[in-house]
Symmetry: C2
Subunit: 463 residues, 2 copies
């Protein structure tokens, strides 16, 4: 394509052109970025990784960019966002009741945001609903409600504070009769390796619903206006009782509060995380952040490479031996499958989670797996709990299961990548599918097609 050959992008940037796009360029030389890069190298070393290996070489820079992009709200200011977007609108204070939208409630619903959990530094997803009752004969441009929410979303947060800050900022910026904010927050609940293996009922998400109100929404006697607001959300899938009853229990929403692992924490790694917090403009001694380095390092140590590789080798060899000695394993013409094996992994390019499901197809005797679903699930977890890329995970699972299930193997991995939604590109709802095929599945399209047909038609990795 022409675009590949034009090569005038740099020239444009040299001219200082900024079209407001989410460019990945710039700020690489700033001390904060460099400090985060150094800290990430410490973390990679703590994981037993070589940060000079090809796949990881740019990871420190990518992590630094993602973290600074994800917390750019510290450098933004609501006054700049709102100013120039307040529009005079007639009818507001006329004496015909709350005449007009200019006197009535204005609600923007279903704004998708990402924020960063101050407890564990993982992103959490927010569906944000904002409303206000105009006053002073003016309304605000609708997009500004979203932009103000982004300013506070792009900081280290927990749900109730995020709601309160959005609400207070809009109240001060627009000076309306009242502001209401409802947030539906989803935090990934990444299991540790043991619970992934042994707790089949592990819930992958912690959800929380919070609200905040100011002005007419802050008054004890204004349940009616909240009823109006929530009525207009309820038919978007929110239940009023839920919001009202679940407001108070916001104590330990982050799963890392209950996350427990006996590893002694590495002080260099803890220091590295504290230094990242400083570089983002935060104070690591702020009450809510004191334990954050410990929690983040504990979580990260889930993906320490070496132990798992040892486990895996022993695990696989012993199983293979037992199968061989039994000798009752024959391949026949039955397409067999194990579908929807869950996996949890860590993207080595961004140090962010990706997770989803694995589908395995093979030819076996009478549709009966010689190794059992739980064994296959263990293989999947063993390859998941390390720094990975989805393409490699898919291939490794295919090659490993072929020792047990024969040479005809197809593996499909469907995943949701946090790095696709929490960074600049913010592609909410996107997902990634990869395939690996061995033996007959690589040469016989009808075998592939037959297997692909039976994969269930549901979304693999809902937030």
């Amino acid at each position: 394509m022409g675009a590949l050959d034009e090569g005038h992008y740099d020239v444009e940037l040299g001219n200082g052109v900024n079209l407001g796009g989410c460019s990945e360029l710039g700020f690489e030389e700033e001390p904060e970025t460099l400090a985060i890069e150094e800290a990430v190298k410490v973390l990679l070393q703590g994981l037993g990784e070589d940060f000079n290996r090809e796949g990881l070489r740019k990871t420190p820079l990518r992590v630094a960019k993602a973290l600074r992009e994800g917390t750019r709200g510290y450098k933004q200011n609501v006054k700049d966002v709102v100013s120039g977007a307040l529009f005079p609108e007639a009818g507001l204070e006329s004496r015909v009741g709350h005449a007009g939208g200019a006197g009535g409630l204005v609600i923007v619903r279903d704004l998708d945001l990402f924020s960063t959990c101050e407890s564990c530094l993982l992103p959490f997803q927010v569906k944000c609903h904002v409303g206000y009752v105009p006053s002073g004969r003016r309304v605000v441009g609708l997009s500004k409600l979203s932009r103000v929410a982004e300013v506070f979303g792009k900081r280290l947060q927990e749900p109730q504070r995020l709601a309160n800050e959005i609400c207070a900022a809009l109240q001060q910026g627009i000076k309306p009769t009242g502001v209401a904010v409802v947030l539906q927050c989803s935090h990934i609940h990444f299991p540790n390796f043991e619970s992934a293996l042994f707790d089949p009922n592990h819930k992958g998400w912690v959800k929380m619903l919070v609200r905040s109100g100011s002005g007419v929404f802050d008054n004890e006697n204004t349940a009616d206006i909240w009823t109006d607001f929530l009525s207009l959300l309820r038919f978007r899938g929110i239940n009023i009782e839920d919001v009202c009853s679940r407001v108070s229990n916001n104590k330990s929403w982050c799963p890392s509060h209950t996350f427990c692992r006996a590893a002694a924490s590495d002080s260099a790694m803890l220091g590295a995380v504290a230094s990242i917090l400083c570089s983002l403009g935060e104070d690591p001694s702020r009450k809510e952040l004191v334990e954050t380095p410990t929690r983040f390092v504990k979580w990260l140590m889930n993906f320490k490479n070496t132990n798992l590789d040892l486990k895996l080798n022993g695990f696989v060899r012993s199983k293979r031996d037992s199968l061989t000695s039994n000798g009752d394993f024959s391949y026949e013409e039955h397409l067999c499958s194990e579908l929807n094996l869950s996996f949890w992994s860590q993207c080595e390019h961004h140090l962010l989670p990706f997770h989803g499901v694995v589908h395995i197809g093979y030819y076996g005797s009478n549709g009966f797996s010689p190794v059992g679903k739980s064994f296959l699930q263990s293989i999947v977890h063993l390859y998941g709990f390390k720094l990975q890329v989805q393409e490699r995970l898919t291939r490794q699972i295919a090659e490993t299961v072929s020792s047990f299930l024969g040479e005809d193997i197809i593996v499909v991995v469907e995943a949701s990548h946090t790095c696709m939604i929490s960074r600049g590109i913010e592609k909410f709802g996107s997902s990634t599918a990869t395939i690996a095929v061995l033996g007959r599945f690589s040469t016989d399209p009808s075998a592939r097609a037959k297997f692909l047909q039976i994969i269930p038609n549901s979304s693999p990795c809902e937030g």
Copy 2:
């Protein structure tokens, strides 16, 4: 909030900090921006508007920003996007079949994009699915597939060319065994005033499915690899037969090709649109763009203010007279409603469409409207077909229908705003609700609640 008082955003910008965010700042002084602003003023004048009235004062700048943001892909270049994101991955050329995702297909699904229709300059929505078969022992970072799609989406496009350009650029940038692109495109089909009034079956969207393939996807004998690719999409809601059969009929997808209106085109307005095309870096004499100014101006003239105001006055007065002379109109204690009246309007802040549904509640005799649904629908269209803001539309409808339906009126407007999804903030799936209440509905929360309960729980304005 602290953020309101910090005021160091400008300082940060002065230091050249660019965190890659979608800042609205910068480039306001550039000649292209200024030229578009001047052109928009000409268009507003052609619509009979005063571009100095408060609501429109910043519209030229907003339109210029939105258009330049929406076409920033002209200044971007795929080589820069992809370079540094190609990762070596083992297993690719080993002799164990297409072993591993590194040898198999990699697909990123459900990327939401917006592009701009070269025929009419309105945005169209794209759900983009991209796949490739790696080669040369390397895979590309997943987010790059999305970024490359954005480069070409952010230009003036039509679906098939967009698919072809994404495909060819990825083929050249990654040099894989093959690339496949499937796009599901939705173009708003804005009715003209007459068809809105008289065609109850008007479909609000034109949909189109296109695909493009290169390498192994470009070969006539590789239906099998397409089957694999489409199988992995089908369980995301895409039907294979649809893609295969509907590839060819891409002739007149843009509804403006059939859009016909007898107004003589204003040459100053036509010149203004041509100048906008130049400012975006396009050639207005390019074959596909020759008719674009005519189509855009025709579409815009839907919203010429004066004619409709005259029509409206006559329309409303005659109806009111007829009701008064009949004298059979009494208010009783029955809550009545007309739900899901469709509306189409034009955001005066961005000159972009917004559309959705209006719900009207009132108290009438035996639940029977004295004026009829089609009359209310006409009122809604009359207020829709002009430069508007949703808050004002809501109030105007409430005040007007109160002449016919009594003093107790509630109006809820639910809308999807193109300006919320096609510009910097790109909040796909967001929607806006506004309420106006008169008489009893403003004082009696239970009356409001009763009406809000009956509003259907469905999304008002699907794309």
